[in-house]
Symmetry: C2
Subunit: 170 residues, 2 copies
DNA sequence: CTGTTATTGTCCGGTACGGTGACAGTTACT
DNA sequence: AGTAACTGTCACCGTACCGGACAATAACAG
């Protein structure tokens, strides 16, 4: 595994923070998707549901803006969530061309479980670190994330297929 | 039943290390691909070229094993690199059915530039951190990466697009 | 009030990519 | 020799992304 540990000449990939971030980020996304799969949702669904919790009745356009994605992607996302009966497209009270998106009761039951999954996942990923190190890591990552210019809580890869159908076979 | 979820005040996504890792990892991959694009190669090409530097004359199968990908992916990767005249498929001295992969002179000229791009990229990403914090971050990330079980230096998303030149316009 | 323009949400088609199965050439084993 | 195993390649297929176009509705000018 640690074959290419050539010290000296050029820094190996595993010594670059950028590579580690990309590698870990990918792994985290993969495993989180696998953990979430039994609940019938993908990570992007989870993010959307969490956002919906605080923005009941918003239009699809508002949601798309908030998550930094295109309206078309929101259509697909909501289609999937609606099919799982986690959201409802109701009539918007003041704008009849828009939909007011609401969480269903099922979603309110699902969300705590999903959050628990996320907590377990986080705990597993951070196993090697103690509490202090975890807090410090989060603080550092937040500083880095802030510097990137990405809005807080907005995942730039939300348009991606969200790593679906990757059964926890590995 | 268990109303343990305080509505609206749960830990936001931006407070989870897993989300930050995924978000940052994606952003890093994106921007690195953009930075590497002018050189005519993608991040996975870069990783392969770096590996080839130390394993001249290996077969495609050996390379695929080392990078943790399938032989078929290696075919495509080498096709692209060969088209850019960065690698050569020579006759394997002892096994006539296999190819011996070698870097070209152009690749030896390109690699230092690519490494420089990677250094600049790393420096930009880590701008908010001082030298001590950077070293500590790398150390922590290495511990986490080791715990995931992924081989060091092997990017689990090597099969993914990761290659597309996403304009940093957004 | 009427007509024009902008917005919302949806659908459709082209395009590219990842993943799978089969295939020729070569080697290794009996 | 003859057969099994391996390497590298190709062709196929299902799927996801991206663009434009569209109906319905709203907002606004005159």
């Amino acid at each position: 595994m640690f074959d290419d540990s050539a010290p000296g000449t050029d820094r190996p990939l595993a010594g670059r923070a950028t590579f580690l971030l990309s590698q870990l980020g990918f792994h985290v996304a993969q495993t989180f998707a696998a953990r979430l799969a039994p609940l019938g949702i993908a990570p992007n669904h989870f993010g959307l549901l969490m956002h919906l919790e605080r923005s009941e009745g918003n239009t699809q356009q508002q949601l798309a803006d908030a998550l930094g994605i295109h309206r078309k992607v929101m259509v697909g996302l909501l289609d999937e969530l609606e099919q799982r009966e986690l959201v409802e497209r109701r009539r918007h009270p003041s704008d009849r061309r828009a939909h007011a998106i609401h969480l269903t009761e099922a979603a309110r039951h699902l969300l705590p479980r999903a959050r628990q999954v996320a907590d377990q996942h986080e705990d597993e990923i951070l196993t090697p670190l103690d509490a202090g190190e975890r807090a410090e890591l989060v603080a550092v990552l937040q500083r880095l994330a802030e510097h990137t210019g990405n809005a807080a809580g907005v995942h730039p890869g939300l348009h991606q297929p969200a790593t679906r159908s990757r059964q926890p076979a590995d």
